[in-house]
Symmetry: C2
Subunit: 331 residues, 2 copies
């Protein structure tokens, strides 16, 4: 089987660009015993992938030059030489930016076909971004009914789920996004205060939305957002540090929050987390999230580009505000 | 009874100076029913008092101009009109920078006279600084035997106790201080790596002391120390944010740690705390600390100035490195 892959051609400096990626056609061999051949249907691009483009030690190894970029994808089994899989099975993998591949069966996870839920939801609300939102908000943020939750990047794949789970938990929700249209969508799913952070005076807008301050901050953005969150935090507030996309393409170290000292006087907890360390929550997450979706309590948006060759553009869109909800590539 | 008090004359801008304080002689009236008259023996100056000199909302109200500064003191009852106290009783109070006062009995705490323990220890290892060290290290830092604990301001009243409790708990301890003499003292009480942070290249020195990284950071200093701690932190490290004395006299907002983004990838927990929220730990603290002192496992230094008129100088010494261990004023 012919397959097409996106390889990392060079490491981006600053904002990634087309020339950092290259499209390569390869032969995916027939599966050997214990292997499965998969045709991908959907692949995911996610902000954390930017970190793997740097050549540095981290919680996941860096992407290698000249190799296909890794990440979540959903596909269908074409041929199987393993008892656990049969042609037509829906599978999730981490083999990434390619439209097909042959791989050991143990690297695949079989997915159910759920009534009324499109398969690509396993890359979004029912996948890693959904579990990230669920874990960070509930395990780190520990919101209580009546509290105020602030989430940055509220219209993204993770932030939009955070905002809706916070509503389900009885919280007042303040969310930021990068356009008025995104803010309208946030209001349509129940967010109490949606703020277009590009309108200026973020601190003033958050203060107006949460005059009593915030109890939980779910951070996808970092930078000014983090400083504002520290400024408006109430005593004992919990910060779930999921990501800081505002700094992912920085070429120089950027100053941290100038008010970091308030961490002491306000007894703040600022805690980073990596969703892969919380796999034990997944069964409960799937149960909860399936129920919320079935009851219309969690909705989502997708931004879809077509074809493997569009994957670099899809990835770039994450940093330029080109997506509402989950950014996907349809293969 | 005549008493002398130090009043806040003006709010310091930047480093506090003599003219911010004034010595006032007052009449402490004879105790009314329910009141007690106290002659202070020792008073404490502590870094957190700098924060109370700003006129701003915080976890404790600001000091008021024209009034005596508050803080811990140890005294002896001179006269009592309350059944709970008798002349000669040793008491602790928060009435602060004065050599005597008359106050409601309920604002006083009676102290035991312990064999071999000087009374002023209740302002240090057995008092608020000791409980601060105990709480922050054990409750927030949660060190495990074999882990590496990094403490800044290691020769101060809090840091020196942190360092020694960490040794008792089986940790490797890296501590910073501002002179070679302080570092020598730290080594004499068992600190594995004492670093004079004024020698330059703090990051290099901490890396050399803890090549595998640190698991717990107890922060008294903030600023560059915090940035270094983030840089060398191992995954899942816990930061007990007790204070950031490097910034207490700043007149402009200072940049936060440039590597704050590492909080995410390293799954760090950076948590501020205020010891007054952990009063429930005090009985266990007194039991543990008394035992450690009796067995010679916790030692301490004092830096003592004489007379109430020396209180402003004593306070200023906290910011210029003039103290090793607990800074005290003997009255």
């Amino acid at each position: 089987m012919k397959a097409r892959e996106i390889h990392l051609q060079s490491r981006p400096v600053g904002l990634p660009a087309a020339e950092n990626f290259t499209l390569v056609e390869v032969d995916a061999r027939a599966p050997q015993p214990g292997e499965v051949q998969v045709r991908n249907l959907w692949m995911s691009v996610d902000p954390y992938m930017r970190g793997r483009m740097y050549d540095r030690p981290s919680y996941v190894p860096p992407f290698q030059l000249g190799e296909a970029l890794q990440g979540h994808a959903i596909g269908e089994v074409i041929a199987s030489a393993d008892d656990g899989f049969a042609a037509g099975d829906l599978v999730s993998s981490m083999w990434g930016w390619r439209d097909g591949f042959t791989a050991p069966a143990k690297t695949l996870e079989k997915l159910p076909r759920l009534e009324g839920v499109p398969v690509q939801a396993f890359l979004g609300v029912l996948g890693m971004p959904g579990l990230t939102a669920y874990t960070g908000l509930l395990e780190i943020g520990q919101p209580k009914a009546g509290e105020t939750v602030f989430v940055s990047g509220g219209a993204g794949a993770v932030g939009s789920v955070v905002a809706q789970i916070a509503k389900i938990k009885g919280c007042t929700v303040v969310a930021t996004a990068g356009s008025d249209a995104k803010c309208d969508w946030l209001r349509s799913v129940g967010v109490d205060h949606a703020i277009n952070y590009k309108s200026g005076d973020l601190l003033g807008a958050v203060r107006a939305a949460a005059p009593q301050g915030i109890d939980v901050y779910f951070d996808n953005v970092g930078g000014e957002h983090l400083e504002v969150a520290i400024e408006v935090a109430r005593g004992g507030a919990r910060f779930a540090e999921c990501g800081m996309i505002s700094g992912y393409n920085a070429t120089e170290p950027t100053p941290g929050p100038r008010n970091i000292m308030m961490v002491v006087g306000k007894s703040l907890k600022i805690q980073g987390f990596i969703v892969s360390n919380y796999g034990h929550l997944r069964p409960q997450f799937i149960t909860d999230m399936s129920g919320w979706i079935a009851q219309g309590q969690v909705k989502w948006e997708e931004t879809v580009l077509d074809g493997i060759e569009a994957a670099p553009d899809a990835f770039l869109n994450l940093f330029t505000g080109g997506n509402t909800g989950k950014m996907l590539v349809k293969l």
